[in-house]
């Protein structure tokens, strides 16, 4: 009590249990109102920011000139993706209702924790782009898989099972075609494996579903104006 031994005379009701309960209740309800208000004022802005985050992430692997549908709404829920990689969304990019590309998230255990990647594939299954979304690899060694640190991840562009032999999908140390980093082999190996399992998923998926096979080849240099939806 010494902390409160101010010479201020405190009213007698201060010591009643009822007053203290009411004080706590009053403070809690005031705070609840404030937080509700804050949530109402910010939730729209936060939702917009999160959508923009997703679009930015997708833009890295699916250039927005390629499609003209709303990527965030044209999604499929694939249980197999959920089982394999923990994220069930398959983003489908369409140009005038024709499917031109797909994107999905793959994960793989790296050197220290999970590496999360997003892969963009065109309708034939060749890679448009791979980017790291999150990882906890060693800074300065394993983090060269980030596009901001190194161009290594661009080495996957345009590759597919069709144009690259199955045994080339490995780091050079394992007899494949991808560079490992000095001092870090496990990280690039994990990324290569993640991409391979993503491509595996896609080839299963496209053989099981007839729709990925295009009815008509879609020219990328279309003369139609690009109607972007972002």
């Amino acid at each position: 009590m010494s902390l409160f031994s101010a010479p201020v005379k405190r009213p007698l009701y201060f010591d009643r249990i009822g007053y203290q309960a009411a004080l706590l209740a009053g403070v809690c309800s005031l705070v609840a109102v404030l937080i509700l208000g804050g949530n109402k004022a910010t939730e729209e802005k936060i939702a917009i920011a999160l959508r923009q985050d997703q679009l930015n992430m997708l833009e890295q692997v699916l250039p927005s000139t390629l499609y003209n549908n709303n990527l965030l709404e044209d999604t499929l829920r694939i249980p197999e993706l959920l089982n394999k990689f923990g994220s069930e969304t398959l983003y489908v990019a369409k140009f005038d209702k024709n499917i031109v590309a797909y994107a999905f998230i793959v994960t793989q255990e790296g050197y220290s924790g999970e590496i999360k990647l997003i892969i963009g594939l065109d309708q034939h299954g060749s890679i448009l782009g791979v980017r790291v979304i999150s990882h906890s690899e060693t800074p300065g060694l394993g983090d060269k898989i980030e596009i901001s640190k190194d161009d290594w991840i661009k080495g996957f562009n345009k590759l597919s099972f069709a144009n690259t032999q199955r045994n080339s999908w490995a780091v050079k140390k394992d007899g494949g075609q991808f560079d490992q980093f000095t001092g870090a082999t496990i990280t690039p190996r994990a990324v290569v494996n993640a991409v391979v399992s993503g491509l595996d998923f896609f080839s299963n998926y496209s053989t099981a579903h007839s729709e990925p096979i295009p009815k008509e080849k879609n020219s990328q240099e279309s003369t139609k104006p690009d109607e972007q939806t972002n």
Binding site: L3, F14, L23, L24, L34
Partner: protein
Amino acid sequence: MNKPTDSPSYPSIFAEGLWSNNIAMSQMLALCPLLAVTTSATNGLGMGLATLVVMVSANFVASILRHIITPQVRIPVFIVLIASIVTLVDMWLNALMHELYKVLGLFIPLIVTNCAILGRVESFASKKNTLPAIADALAMGLGFIWVLVVIGGAREILGSGTLFAHASLLLGSNFEWMELTILSDYQGILLLVLPPGGFLMLGFLLSLKRLIEKIITARTLKALNHQQPDKLIAELS
């Protein structure tokens, strides 16, 4: 011991907050966020600013409500108040400075558990008038910011060769001039970016502070040497 009603002067409030009773360097509080976010000067600055906002609001509210809060329930009341202020800061930071939020997001909720804030509310704001309470929060918050920025800056320069990288995310595009590359093509001392680097830097900074204080004490002693012994004793005690 001061009487609770005594209000220290503003210069002494700021001297305490910035140096002699600095949260991180003297009270040794708030070390968890300090060690965790100071991988760059910008992160440190962002965390420091968020803490400063929470501190000022918490001290302000606690000081206003000090006459209706009873000693028996003061701790739960203060914790509820601090937690809700942190929640509001978290929401607004997410809405208005989303890029920075993605960097700091994990650490903002941790401000609730920052004992320094409850400490200032409990030991200062709940007994003082509103203005000194705000001044105290500003002083303590600024003291925390400079420690965060110095440790963050030192780790960033030695660890990655830059200073204030991504500062424009925090302060707006007008502040791009702050983003410096001190050492280009620099491989960096990996250790300093990793968690042990935080401990090392804090240790160096603490010993530097002790050293400076030692020099100051030695100088005052020398100056006092030819004066009355009772004054010397008063200075020492």
